[in-house]
Symmetry: none
Subunit: 149 residues, 2 copies
């Protein structure tokens, strides 16, 4: 498993599970047959800028990075939660799949948001293709998008 995939998985896990400490990540990955140590998770958390937030239940939990929430990002978030199916990158391209009929709206929002990594964007019925400035941008962009889910 490559670092990139693991990062994606961590983002998913931190949202669907309650992760109270780094060892929880390690355990979750072990359950999936992925061998990784706390040291690596610590580094991943740093790169992904995950934060440990004191929770209302008296404990702590890791969360996605506190991002600036514009109106756009709230709309994006809502739409992503409703209609997001999958995301993938290939070179400088990012492909987002949505439920049928939602891709155009998503594409419009993404265009409005004017992400600096983005060079262009074209939407169909259930697919948005984003062309980024380069491969690195595509990865960063993907992370941004995933964080809306």
């Amino acid at each position: 498993m490559k670092k990139k995939e693991r990062h994606q998985l961590l983002r998913k896990l931190v949202q669907q599970d309650v992760i109270r400490k780094q060892e929880d990540f390690v355990d979750k990955l072990h359950e999936r047959g992925i061998e990784v140590t706390q040291a690596t998770i610590s580094r991943d958390i740093k790169e992904l800028q995950l934060v440990k937030v004191p929770a209302q239940d008296g404990g702590y939990r890791y969360n996605l990075p506190p991002e600036m929430n514009y109106d756009i990002s709230k709309k994006l978030s809502r739409l992503m939660r409703d209609a997001f199916v999958s995301i993938d990158t290939q070179r400088e391209f990012v492909l987002i799949r949505t439920l049928p009929g939602n891709a155009f709206a998503l594409g419009s929002l993404i265009e409005t948001a004017k992400y600096s990594e983005m060079f262009g964007c074209v939407s169909g019925d259930d697919t948005v293709l984003i062309i980024c400035r380069d491969e690195e941008s595509a990865e960063r962009f993907q992370r941004r998008i995933i964080s809306f889910i």
Copy 2:
């Protein structure tokens, strides 16, 4: 000094100083003649829900809770709509002009928002000068700011 006052002070400190670890809080309070230990700060942080965010400079810093940052971006948006005049970049600098008397407030908000692109910020009466990490950051930062209008 009562807990409540200390909490208020911590909120202020976390915004105006770079707090990398809990001991930094302890030191800052000692400078002000307030005796307190790391244990207490840890409890305070929990109650205030401050978070330790991996920073872009490779370190970490404590920050206000994400929800509070959200409030800040709303304020920023309101102020921008009210007082924004122009924005321009030159190399790693971004210059924002506002209606007279509004720049200081804007600068404070921008500083509080702790944008990763930003290195420093100085405000006058109708001008905010932001020094970014590099030219690219300045451009990205400019886009972010414009998106508030």
